[in-house]
């Protein structure tokens, strides 16, 4: 109601504009954006920067986020956004309207929890969501949502112990779904002091029957720690062209905080229930640093995003230090090549987009630059192709809306 009079006024101006210009003044709003960048701005606000093209050509518009509790931890598919509102446990669906404003269109009330991971079941409209209970962060739960009708089909507790020895914080880091079986990689952390924690030396991989959630197989892996992470914030796994499933472990300070373990990439081969114990791509051994973020590029190659421990001191500047590098990883030869783009800032970002012959990076580099960089897969050429609103402090996500 409070928007009634302003909208009446805007409507009046709009009509005047039509009279005098004979062109729709709303044209700037009515374009069909192809890309959405989720920004954290200098003033502390968040916004979406919608673009027709990642090049400097084409229209763009900056819009508000739909509510002040909307965070970067949203799920996006073909122009529809889903967000779990932690404060009141509503899972809400949002869409862009004809004026490119993001509006809520439906909601489902969940039980309390923190969203840990999601996966589209067999690439259908069925969304599987995995949460941990807020109070203890020790009990896992699965929600099955039909996103077409936006109804909750099922919700059930996951059959994982709430702690292992005295490690009592559960993280559901990676999820895969094959042949009506769920495969979940999880781990446990614990607090050492009031504000220092670590993660246990074991990664657990459980295979569950999807209908009964009975554990069909449990594999323990001590080669690294903290598989994956919250996958709304950043990607940590992918299936390659041959159907093999790859995922990354993140024991560095920004996730697992078990620094004795290496950041590594692991493989679950097509048709296998267990992780291939003969395969491990040790990233830390090669670059002497930890990394967070894994994006599959095609042709047995992937992109990773790594920190530089000699540049940041601790959590006071881990996010604001220009330290993040991108490497091209050959999953078969295990060779790493640094991509020649400026150092990026921001702890954990979903800012890498693989599209056709190119990989796009949304980079926040020194000198308050917020640019889109393009890597050409065929010849490895790197170009800066456009700049984003200078009110931005961090580009936290880059999504393709089609």
């Amino acid at each position: 109601m409070k928007l009634f009079f302003p909208s009446l006024y805007i409507g009046f101006l709009f009509a005047l504009g039509l009279l005098f210009s004979c062109a729709s003044p709303d044209a700037s709003k009515s374009f069909l954006p192809e890309y959405a960048l989720y920004l954290l701005n200098e003033d502390g606000s968040n916004s979406f920067f919608l673009k027709e093209s990642l090049q400097d050509t084409g229209k763009s518009i900056e819009i508000e986020v739909p509510s002040k509790e909307f965070t970067r931890e949203y799920i996006h598919k073909k122009g529809i956004f889903y967000h779990f509102k932690e404060r009141n446990d509503y899972f809400i669906r949002y869409q862009l309207d004809a004026n490119n404003q993001m509006i809520a269109t439906d909601s489902i009330l969940f039980k309390d929890g923190y969203l840990e991971n999601y996966i589209w079941k067999n690439n259908t409209d069925t969304l599987l969501l995995f949460t941990v209970e807020k109070k203890t962060t020790a009990h896992g739960r699965m929600y099955v949502v039909d996103t077409k009708s936006f109804t909750l089909l099922r919700e059930e507790a996951l059959p994982f112990p709430s702690s292992i020895v005295n490690f009592n914080l559960l993280s559901i880091g990676v999820v895969d779904f094959v042949d009506d079986k769920l495969w979940i990689a999880y781990c446990y952390s614990k607090f050492l002091t009031a504000d220092d924690y670590t993660t246990s030396d074991t990664m657990y991989y459980a295979t569950l029957d999807f209908s009964s959630l009975d554990v069909l197989n449990l594999q323990k892996d001590t080669r690294s720690s903290y598989p994956g992470g919250v996958n709304t914030v950043q990607s940590y796994s992918a299936r390659d062209d041959q159907g093999d499933f790859y995922f990354m472990s993140c024991p560095g300070v920004a996730l697992g905080n078990n620094l004795a373990k290496p950041t590594a990439i692991f493989r679950k081969k097509k048709g296998m229930q267990e992780v291939d114990t003969s395969y491990m791509l040790d990233i830390s051994e090669t670059i002497h640093n930890h990394a967070y973020g894994f994006w599959y590029m095609g042709g047995q190659k992937a992109i990773i995003r790594s920190e530089q421990r000699n540049l940041y001191t601790d959590f006071s500047n881990h996010h604001s230090t220009f330290q993040f590098e991108y490497y091209l990883v050959d999953l078969s030869t295990k060779k790493l090549d640094k991509i020649n783009i400026p150092l990026d800032k921001g702890t954990r970002k979903e800012n890498v987009l693989v599209q056709g012959d190119y990989v796009y990076f949304a980079i926040d580099s020194e000198g308050e630059k917020h640019d889109i960089w393009r890597y050409t897969i065929n010849d490895g050429q790197v170009d800066r192709i456009s700049s984003i609103s200078n009110s931005a402090s961090y580009i936290l996500r880059l999504d393709f809306l089609k």
Binding site: S67, E86, T105, S107, K134, Y197, V230, A254, L255, G346
Partner: protein, 214 residues
């Protein structure tokens, strides 16, 4: 029709009558859900109330100067003991009446040994102390020191220095800061609320639980 949580649940279960269905659909089509609180924002209200309560109880005492008439010496001699007692009361009273507010203005010191958070509202800032925390904010020396974690909301811009690391930090009005002591690193970690998304999920949740943010 008022949109309540119960009504929305009914809607989700498909138990709404036509009137209710229309109301919910109209609401769903409405533009902003941010304004419609599906549930009371308990944390904010509790925090506000706490702040309000505490600021009331610790509010600057009314500056009513004790009226002292100009007594004759004879009277003073006769009531010597009483005069001394009166002076003592005046001095002690004066200390509390005058010195305390000045001290309150420049130096803030608080300890929380409770299992919940404690909030204070001061001229320069609002502050919430997590359990087992202690905070010292001294505007005279410009130093901040603490054990544990606090949330600080400045009411004006000011600069404070972490005495141990000698690092200065600009606090801006209207922003909310998370300030955490790192004993092993002998320094404070100061993050604006918006920067907390960069902390590891384990830490973010710990802080949310400590301060009842969600």
């Amino acid at each position: 029709m008022d949109i309540s949580k119960a009504l929305l649940e009914k809607y989700e279960l498909g138990q709404c009558n036509d009137e209710e269905l229309a109301a919910v659909r109209a609401w769903l089509d409405a533009e902003d859900w941010g304004d419609l609180d599906l549930e009371e924002d308990i944390d904010e209200t509790v925090k506000e109330e706490l702040w309000a309560d505490i600021s009331f109880s610790v509010a600057t005492p009314s500056i009513t100067q004790p009226v002292v008439s100009n007594p004759r010496i004879a009277v003073i001699k006769r009531y010597w003991g009483t005069v001394v007692a009166a002076c003592m009361i005046a001095i002690i009273g004066g200390y509390y009446y005058f010195y305390q507010p000045v001290k309150d203005f420049t130096v803030f010191q608080a300890t929380n040994v409770e299992s919940g958070v404690i909030s204070f509202s001061k001229d320069h800032f609002d502050v919430v102390l997590s359990p087992n925390s202690e905070a010292n904010i001294d505007f005279e020396s410009g130093n901040i020191s603490l054990t544990g974690n606090i949330m600080l909301r400045p009411k004006r811009d000011f600069v404070l220095q972490d005495g141990r690391s000698n690092q200065s930090f600009n606090f801006k009005q209207g922003e909310v800061y998370f300030v955490s002591e790192r004993e092993e690193q002998k320094k404070l970690i100061i993050l604006s609320k918006r920067e907390m998304i960069f902390l590891p999920p384990v830490m973010q949740r710990r802080i949310k639980q400590q301060f009842h943010i969600s």
